[in-house]
Structure formats: structure tokens, C-alpha cells
Subunit: 303 residues, 2 copies
């Protein structure tokens, strides 16, 4: 099995009520690959500028992350500046500097074109579709993340790529805007018509809902006493979810439930510190222990 992620590698300026960080490592491909690589090797396709140096490279080098698909081009890397209030549920974007990302045109190394699992991070759906077309064999699973910016501004392209997608991972507001349907059961039916047969709705502090043809599964978020920075939680979830599926090589409903729990556990580590700080340091034992606590928490024993 092989797992390919396409997305952004960025520098983030982050501000929350609990502190701030400047030029911290971020981006969808970063969080995804750091999370998924706990379970399975990951190939990354993204673009960085001259400011991406040995300090950043070291973060990836400690993991089974293949950076053959990471283009280094002259200029500055993608930069995002965001701030959160106390409820931490929604980021306020203060600045977005595309920099080298403005001309990003994913070009998959030949070996990548046969990947079994493909994650299309939140980028222009035109590029997402272009990546799908570069695959010489159809991946077993194609998962896609998107956002309201593309839903509003690039719907035809988004609908074109969604026809190729198996798993859509979005938040409540995004699935409602995409389907023009408030009720999630009805929204899932509409998503199925658009292409994806599986819908994962990320709900932040309220957890995750998983819609499959076999039924609905929902789990709360792992409860944390200290949440510092929600940036990257969604991509970390996606990494845990797909990395775990690639590892266990199963695609049944039970495997998907376990993958959703694993995604939630990985995301719970990300939000405990700024940027990728906690995700970089978390050990296999910590992941295992938290998964065990989480499973106990949602289990209902017989009376």
C-alpha cells in the first residue's frame, strides 16, 4: 500500500488567547503527513520557497515521509496569519500570502502515480482534479478536503473533482453550503449524488460524524483540559484517518469507525500545543494510551 498527499506546506503566524507564534510550520500537507506517518509511510506533493530550510526539513526527515514530490522554487513559501477567540471554533484570517503557492502546479513523480491512497488537501479544485488525472492507476481511495472559498468561487471545478472522490472530509458549515441542505442526513444523500460515497463531517470540539452507505457513526471529540491552537486539527484528523486505513488495509464500516477514532486522537494532540509542536513529539505509546482512554469514554457497557 502507498499513500500520497497533495496540499500546502506553509509558514503560519498564529494568535490565540493563550499565546502567539510567528512563522510556525503549517499547511495541510504538513499536518496530514506528520499525522499519517505514525501509521504508514507518506508521499508528499507540495511547493516551498527559499525560506524552507534545514529546520523545517528536519521535522519531516524524522518520519517515513517521502519528499521527492516537494518542489523547491525561488521566492517565499505560502504564509497564513490567523487569530482565534476563546471559543477556538473559527479562525479569523488576517493575511494570506500565496507566494510560491500562486504558481503551484502539482507534477507527480512517476512512482507516485500508482499510489493506493490519495489525499487531496484543501487547494484549488482545478489542481485537485489535475492530480487525479495524473494517476495512471485509479487509487483504491481518493479523499478530498475543501473549504467555503472554493464552494462559492469554484463550484463547477469542485463538482468535477468530486465525481472522482470516495471520501469527502469537511466541516458542518462546508457540507451545508455545498449541498444547500441544513440537515446532515439529507446533505449526505446529496453528497452521494455528487460522487463521494463516504462523508466525514468534522465538528471541532463536538467530534466527528461519519456517513457511509452502511449507516451513521458519530463520536465526540477527545476531551482536553487545555486547547491551545486548533490550526491543523482537520488535516491531522485526515492524516490519522487515512494513515490508519492504509495501515490496516481494510475498508469495511468497522475499520472506518476505528479510523475516525484514530483521526480524533491524533487531532487532540495537535491542538494541545501551537503549530506542529505536539504532533512532532507525540510517541506511539501516547497515541495508544489516548486511544484506549477514548474508547473507554465512548463505550456503553451492558447493564
Amino acid at each position: 500500500m502507498s499513500l500520497l498527499a497533495v496540499g500546502s506546506v506553509a509558514f503560519d503566524d498564529l494568535e490565540t488567547p493563550f499565546g502567539k507564534r510567528e512563522r510556525a510550520l503549517g499547511g495541510s500537507a504538513t499536518y496530514f503527513s506528520l499525522s499519517a506517518s505514525r501509521f504508514h509511510p507518506v508521499r508528499v506533493v507540495a511547493v516551498v520557497g527559499d525560506d524552507f530550510g534545514p529546520d523545517q526539513m528536519r521535522v519531516f526527515d524524522q518520519r517515513p515521509i517521502d519528499l521527492e514530490g516537494l518542489s523547491h522554487v525561488p521566492g517565499l513559501s505560502f504564509h497564513w496569519k490567523g487569530a482565534y477567540g476563546y471559543d477556538l471554533n473559527e479562525a479569523k484570517t488576517l493575511a494570506t500570502d500565496l507566494n510560491v503557492f500562486a504558481d503551484f502546479k502539482p507534477d507527480l513523480p512517476p512512482a507516485y502515480r500508482h499510489s493506493d491512497y490519495l489525499f487531496l488537501g484543501n487547494i484549488d479544485p482545478v489542481l485537485q482534479l489535475d492530480v487525479v488525472r495524473q494517476m495512471t492507476t485509479r487509487p483504491k481511495w481518493i479523499a478530498l478536503d475543501t473549504m467555503n472559498y472554493w464552494i462559492r468561487g469554484a463550484r463547477p471545478a469542485l463538482e468535477a473533482v468530486l465525481r472522482e472522490v470516495d471520501i469527502l472530509l469537511v466541516n458542518d458549515a462546508e457540507v451545508r453550503e455545498l449541498t444547500q441542505e441544513h440537515n446532515l442526513i439529507k446533505a449526505y444523500r446529496r453528497i452521494q449524488q455528487l460522487g463521494p460515497r463516504i462523508l466525514v463531517v468534522k465538528r471541532g470540539e463536538y467530534g466527528v460524524a461519519l456517513f457511509t452507505p452502511e449507516g451513521i457513526f458519530a463520536a465526540p471529540a477527545y476531551p482536553l483540559e487545555d486547547v491551545f491552537d486548533p490550526t491543523g486539527a482537520g488535516d491531522t484528523f485526515a492524516g490519522g484517518f487515512l494513515g490508519y486505513l492504509a495501515w490496516i488495509e481494510r475498508s469495511d464500516a468497522t475499520a472506518l469507525k476505528h479510523a475516525a477514532l484514530m483521526g480524533s486522537v491524533m487531532a487532540s494532540f495537535t491542538v494541545e500545543r501551537f503549530s506542529t509542536e505536539r504532533l512532532e513529539s507525540v510517541s506511539q505509546d501516547e497515541v495508544r494510551n489516548r486511544l484506549s482512554l477514548f474508547s473507554d469514554m465512548i463505550r456503553v457497557e451492558d447493564l
Copy 2:
């Protein structure tokens, strides 16, 4: 075992994007008792006016609901008018006419003063404390609901009654305002200092979180395709929760989890129709079937 509920019986004018109802039966004691009486007989202490007639009485008469404590006084019953937008998460109050409720002074019939389970619906905390003081034996469980109006405007009285309470049932915003703490784990610690050893946080479409000294349990809401009117969902939950506990006569952590699921199932019926329409008609088989579907939905089978 005996179960006593003190609260309001009201007429509601309701408006949602899906329709409207005028002078529909409502009130915390109404929803609570209709829900709890599916599991255990309920005693009700409340007040109604001349407009509460045979049509309303019939709704209660079909159930093991003891109305000896329901005062009939001259005047009009409590009246509430509210409207909801598409997200149905928050009601906009358009009118509140206390009417006979303005002079409500609960006076417990002698037999009620020995009840094993006491539910204090969302009324003035001064009255809630007065009810507790009328009990000649200390109930096994005292559960309390409140709202931001009392948290802001009657904090000393609320804190006085909370010292007597075992189970606090509130929503996210209420527990955050009461404790001045956004994080729910920290908020629970503060609640314990105030008195209640169990905290139930009602999260609407996101389900419920249960905090006990043994740990945290969280479950999603039962997913519904059609939600018409969320009025009474919280009191219906409380009724299912306490009615079920009274029925099984257990108070351990497993029993509390099952009670939370039962409360969620009962609430899912309430919101499917306006007012108490669905709650009145739901059959034991329907409750059992939905609980079974719900349990399957949140169960994570071993791999």
C-alpha cells in the same frame, strides 16, 4: 421509588421554518413528566390557570402522572412565544407572560415530601430551594435545570440551591456562564465545588456530555432527518434520564450512561413534531427500537 418534578405547565406559541402552532401545550414539568412517565410514575407540582381544561388534562391522564400537586388558580396559564431560525439551536423569545406563574409558590402535598427523585425544572432558584426545604427526607437524587436569566440575575439564590443538588443539567453556554470557564473539564471541577457531583451538558444537535467523578462520557444526538421544533428537548431529556434511573434503581456510571442515551432518544421524539405531539403518541416499541438503533450507531466493534 418515587419521582417528583417541579416546574412549569404552559401554553406556547411556536414558530419554526417548518410551521407554527398557537397555544400548544408546553412547560418544563409537562415535557419532563410526559417523558419520565414512559419509565416510572411521576408526581407534578406546578400551577395552571382557567385556560387549562379537559383537553390538556387528557394528555396527562393517559400516563402514570399524579397531578395532586397541580394548582388550579384563577387567571391565565404561563404563556411563552418563541421563534427559531433554520439552525434550530437557539430560540428567540418573542413574549413571556407569567400570568398565574408570577405568584407560583410550590406547596408540596404531604405524600410528595418523601420522594426519592426530585427534578427542579428551570424556575426561580428561590422557589427551587424552597421545594428542597419542604422535603422531609432527603431525596436520593436531586437534579436541577436553570438558565442564563437566573445565572445572571439570581446567582446567590442559585448557588444556595446548587449546594443541595446532585445532578446539574444545563447546556454549553449555561455551564460556561455559571462557571466563567470555557473549558468543560475545568467547568466541571468548578461545578463540583458548587455542589453537584454530576454534570450533564446538553448540546442540542451535538448530543450530550456527562461528567461524573468516575470519568467523562459523551454521546452524539440521535440523527434525525426532520427536526420540526426543538422546544422541550432539554426537559424531555431530563425526564428520560431521571425516569430511567428511577426505573432501574441503579446509580452507577454504567446506569448513568444508559440513562443519558435514553434521555437522548426521548428528546429525539420530541423534536420530530411540534409541542408534545410526538411525545404523546410515541409507543414503547418505538422507544425500544430507536434506543437499539442509537446504541448500534455509537458502538465501535472490535477490529
